[in-house]
Amino acid sequence: MSIRHGLLALLDQGPRYGYQLRTEFESRTGSAWPLNVGQVYTTLSRLERDGLVEPSGEDDEGHVFYAVTEQGRQELRSWFDTPVDRRSPPRDELAIKLAMAVTVPGVDATAVLQAQRGHTMTALQALTRLKARALAAVERPGAAGPDLAWLLVLDQQVFQAEAELNWLNNCETRLIRHAARPARETAVREGERER
């Protein structure tokens, strides 16, 4: 969905050809989600099939331009007007991995968690270095919309990595509490559940 609407939003600012769309999409999002030209053309042909864009001529070099249709404009407007659905979050590999780690015998869940924390923290550090550059870019006189767009996308990734780390710390605390329960009590409880 996001690529589709992203391209519509760019075309709303005037006709463009495939390679231009790819470049502009990436500069807005700091190429957090790199696109290949093939994806751009596939998406354009679907948009055309659905009547949301139409070809609008070629230049001397043979680039085929696309323009947004009225229907495409309506689709774009309604995309901006509608919140992104978060009611059924996508499956998360890490959540599944930890759920398995605490239940599969012989797996050290704390080790899994600590390794992930180190990795995620490292990723967050890398993102933060990029963010420091984006912050400087935004503060420069003459900073433009794409600079701000890039900073916002980086912020999103930073907050997401932070949320994951907070969750991992929380998991660690829960594991420690769980392990600290008196062994006999644990056995009794488990026995009760079986009955």
């Binding site: 996001s2 990795h119 923290m121 890398a126 993102l127 270095r129 550059r133 990595a161 907070n166």
Partner: protein
């Protein structure tokens, strides 16, 4: 900002003396059944230009580590070395001089002198160091400006918000050529973007050659550091740092030049 690979490379090639070195440092409070091991056998080197973040649950020993590194408390065993001087071997006077000249300390509770204005609080350690009142005042103004609160110079602590006091405390720690900055939750009272601005200043100090150790509860803030160490029950448990950075940077750095070679990630719909 300096590329982390480069500095990691440097460390490998030339032995650079750490600004701060903790060797098997322990701190035990009380005795007998009431004994608390606030810190147990901690080893940590912080090199010039390096920014280290310390994280860990409440009571894990973060402030203890910082007070020992800053010479505000003495280790029960082990060595604390700042710029080549073992703190435990110094006279009270010599220790006070190291604290004043080499170490900038941001306290968890700010610790400003209530009877002094912001500028006077910041200038105080410089004046104690023998600087003229005017020089110290000029430096204090510069430190206030660097941290973005030049207009607060003449306010007293009780005339400032918590976040403003916190920034004054940070400016005080940064004044002069302090080679080691120790900061205990320096962003605790700051909103997100003010906190970020303070971290950018700390980062810039380290990029200019200072060493810093910062305690924080927020990963987002810790991520400004080159290295993040975790404390649990007084022990360092695991670390993320320069060694692991490179792999993950691939993801982020594809971005920068808008280099066209990143056709691999196929997030098809």
């Amino acid at each position: 900002m300096s590329a982390p690979e480069t500095s990691a490379q440097q460390w490998k090639d030339t032995p650079i003396a750490p600004v701060l070195r903790l060797q098997a440092v322990s701190r035990v409070h009380g005795a007998g059944p009431a004994e608390v091991h606030a810190l147990s056998g901690v080893d940590l080197d912080v090199l010039p230009g390096e920014f280290v973040a310390v994280m860990g649950p409440s009571g894990s020993g973060k402030s203890t580590l910082l007070t020992l590194a800053g010479g505000l408390d003495a280790a029960s065993s082990g060595r604390v070395v700042v710029e080549g001087q073992e703190l435990g071997a110094l006279t009270t006077r010599a220790l006070a001089a190291v604290r004043r000249r080499s170490i900038g300390y941001v306290f968890q509770d700010f610790n400003l002198v209530p009877a002094l204005t912001a500028a006077e609080n910041i200038a105080l350690p410089r004046e104690l160091d023998g600087l003229s009142a005017r020089r110290a005042r000029t430096e204090a103004q510069a430190a206030l400006a660097e941290i973005g609160i030049a207009e607060l110079a003449d306010r007293f602590p009780d005339e400032m918000s918590g976040g403003q006091q916190q920034r004054v405390a940070i400016a005080r720690a940064l004044i002069g050529e302090r080679r080691l900055v120790l900061a205990d939750e320096p962003t605790g009272a700051l909103d997100s973007s003010t906190g970020e601005a303070v971290l950018a200043v700390l980062r810039a100090r380290c990029d200019a050659g200072a060493a810093a150790v910062m305690v924080t509860h927020e990963s987002r803030h810790a991520a400004w550091a080159d290295r993040v160490v975790f404390l649990r029950d007084g022990r360092l448990v695991d670390e993320s740092g320069p060694a692991r950075v490179e792999a993950s940077l691939r993801v982020g750095l594809g971005n920068l030049g808008g280099s066209g070679g990143s056709d691999t990630a196929g997030d098809t719909e």
